[in-house]
Symmetry: C2
Subunit: 471 residues, 2 copies
């Protein structure tokens, strides 16, 4: 049987996510992101399409490099305003049964003791359907909002994130033993103090001595997601992530990255298949190729070049407001645009301008959508999976929710017919659905499992009044 394709609906608790300007399309409903019903419809639609998860991005801070101001981001709703992503998970969980939730949260700014409780609470409420996309942030505007002068330097952020993960693992995996909760009404014993341990952590940034506040949830540690392709980012992913994702580039690049991150995982004592790799991609699908192209033409009339530039300027740290959009791309711009150029065309020696380049993208973003009939979209997806070693796609929203509805109605049945997509959900938690296994817990070979409490002396003294320390 060919490899099963995995799918997430990639979204954000905001008006604009990646394809900027789309909110202005008459049928786009993203300005309803503040409404419970909006999220419930999204979740029901994705579950109807048997998606693995709703994947919610997040950003702390505002994109203010373009024009040295957040003005362009604000005008185009480029991820500002942006609401908290964790808080829409419960309402989606309330109207679905199987779909998972991969939600972004920032390891640089959230206190681990309080954040670990949020993860446990959500894993309880969703009955084991939670995932956490670990990010470290990259905006100076966020640093200034959090009492710092500027962002912590890139590799240093990952070092601190490593420490953060250690604290979170200790709390989620090490504090309560599996059978700590007894809930014996007749014996009047809710939990056994001998099986609950204060964790102790003294690190560079965090100092925590505490019992985890929540009792064990179905998965304990939620399924761990991580993005990014930097050298340090890949090492982090190979150690911690169970799902990895990144944006479109060439097949050659993707294949190399996938091979490298899987090899690094193996180097960490994990299996290559312990990582599920997603490519973020937009698809515009029609019943026919013509219908898809007409839809694309309709959508692209709303694409915001200014929005795309505002977003991209903060990503690469170049103020494009100072550039002539119609002048030939200079060398240093071309470098920062390299992965985009690669994706757009092989004619990279052609004379490009910023406007021409972003116009080519079409949808107010620096990524290129795939446009085609349902069969062509299915072909394209299978091609990437077969040729690069990825497992599936984060479907990045365009005009919402119709893009997801189109995909579920038109593409999913074809993928099912071809035998590359599930026809029903597996039972169990998100981790069981993605990786199988009996427990739905982190695999023993995952670093997080090493923080579980080990009973070294089962017939030793009563731990009740002197909680053991997990070091």
């Amino acid at each position: 049987m060919p490899k099963e394709i995995r799918l997430n609906a990639f979204d954000m608790n905001s008006v604009g996510h990646i394809q900027h300007g789309m909110w202005a399309h008459p049928r786009d409903q993203s300005p309803r992101y503040t409404e419970i019903e909006y999220w419930q419809h999204l979740a029901r639609t994705a579950e109807r399409g048997l998606f693995d998860a709703i994947f919610l991005a997040d950003i702390i801070g505002v994109y203010d490099v373009y024009g040295a101001s957040p003005a362009a981001s604000i005008r185009n709703a480029v991820q500002i305003p942006i609401n908290d992503p964790l808080l829409v998970v419960p309402v989606m969980a309330a109207v679905t049964k199987h779909i998972g939730f991969g939600v972004t949260s920032n390891a640089t700014y959230e206190a681990p003791y309080l954040f670990a409780r949020r993860l446990s609470t959500l894993d309880h409420l969703t009955r084991g359907r939670m995932g956490w996309n670990i990010v470290t942030g990259y905006l100076d505007s966020a640093a200034r909002a959090m009492g710092l002068d500027r962002q912590i330097e890139h590799d240093n952020r990952y070092e601190l994130a490593d420490e953060y993960m250690e604290v979170v693992y200790k709390l989620l995996e090490g504090s309560w033993e599996d059978d700590a909760v007894v809930a014996d009404r007749s014996g009047r014993l809710y939990a056994d103090p001998a099986k609950i341990h204060a964790i102790s952590h003294v690190g560079r940034r965090h100092r925590v001595n505490a019992i985890h506040l929540s009792e064990p949830s179905p998965q304990r540690t939620p399924v761990l997601y991580q993005a990014g392709v930097s050298t340090r980012g890949r090492a982090f992913a190979a150690k911690h992530a169970e799902c990895v994702f990144f944006a479109t580039s060439t097949k050659e690049n993707v294949r190399a990255i996938v091979r490298d991150v899987r090899a690094q995982a193996v180097g960490n004592g994990r299996r290559a298949e312990d990582l599920v790799v997603f490519l973020s991609r937009s698809f515009i699908v029609g019943r026919t190729r013509k219908e898809a192209e007409e839809k694309f033409a309709d959508y692209r009339a709303y694409g915001s070049v200014e929005g795309a530039l505002a977003h991209f300027a903060s990503s690469v740290g170049i103020d494009y407001a100072k550039e002539d959009l119609d002048a030939p791309l200079r060398h240093e711009q071309s470098n920062s645009m390299q992965s985009i150029l690669e994706a757009v065309t092989t004619r990279s020696t052609e004379q490009w301008t910023l406007r021409k380049l972003l116009g080519q993208m079409g949808l107010g973003s620096r990524t290129m959508p795939f446009v085609g009939s349902a069969e062509e979209v299915a072909d394209e997806m299978q091609g990437w999976v077969e040729e690069t070693g990825i497992d599936g796609f984060n479907l990045s929203r365009v005009v919402t929710p119709e893009g997801l509805e189109d995909f579920v109605d038109l593409v999913v049945p074809i993928l099912q017919e071809r035998g590359v997509y599930k026809t029903a959900y597996r039972e169990g938690t998100l981790r069981k659905k993605l990786f199988g296994g009996a427990s739905g817990r982190l695999r023993e070979s995952h670093v997080g499992a090493s923080y579980r409490h080990r009973r070294v002396n089962d017939d030793g003294p009563d731990h009740a009044s002197r909680p053991a320390v997990v070091s």
Copy 2:
């Protein structure tokens, strides 16, 4: 018309809240606190009873003074495990239309920039039904979980909470002007950068320079709740709180506290009626007095003296595990028990023991439930409102959810017949429901309103590229 009585359902995202041991009762459903359906039933029931709000307590840390260990708290589920209260609000909001949500969050430990976004997100999702109960924490166990050696000293915590409120007001009230969001699809303008301002705060503890991440929600600042009767706590409430609550004591004490906190509010330029005062109380109600008494006898068989002591020990900082439960109360114990003794009996010179005292309470807590027929409960409530100046009650759960169901089915109709309780909800946000008014926003006389952006120079230079600073 007599004064309208206000009601909140007082609960916690945990097995044990205040009446300890009740989870062991065969009909108690509190061990289902991890389930969405559990919270939705609670919210539907309270809304059926036209309650003003679900009021959720919270605690960061664990009660570990009793026996110098958390063991007694763990055995009796005394607020441990405890899940995040904010995350159950969205599921309750999804199945209700009117009821509000007063949710506890800690001003000592949550970063204001991120917390303000949570408040805005919830106020959006609930369409203006959010309230925030401001606490500062009091447990050393929480401090140790958050990187400190011990709890910050009481009055100092309130000073820092004052600063925290200032930051939150700046973000919620001062960053986005009312008409900043344009959402003009044809003009491709989501929001007007000239009407969105970076707030600037440099204080003792917090340094924030940022645009608030969320667009204006219906209430902006949620309805503000605050508990506590300490001198510093009252001053804080008279400045910030719109709803005040505290636990049962004698009518004389309550009257004095209510009078004082209202007078202090007036001293701050507010009106006495700008504060809604709730008394926390448990009621056990039956169709007849006999039925109520039988219910009480049934419930009290499950009351946990150990649970009550574990809770109380951390509240007052005395390790009752070292005390003889059957010895006469010593003077310093009596002092810490004073408010309880007052509530139990006027015979405060009687020779009390710890066991006798907590047994008198009956339900594994240090508060005394009122037990009676629906008419008697209504009489008791009216008596307190008329004689002390309070506005209503936080109904503290006993055996859940049947206690709330009993109250809604039996007492609410009598209060309605007597004309002291609403027969329908007002339209609008929680603040409109509680205080009337057109805007549903903080009153102009409230300190939070002073942080709104004032346009000093409407025909001045374009602010777009140089955001104004709200000081």
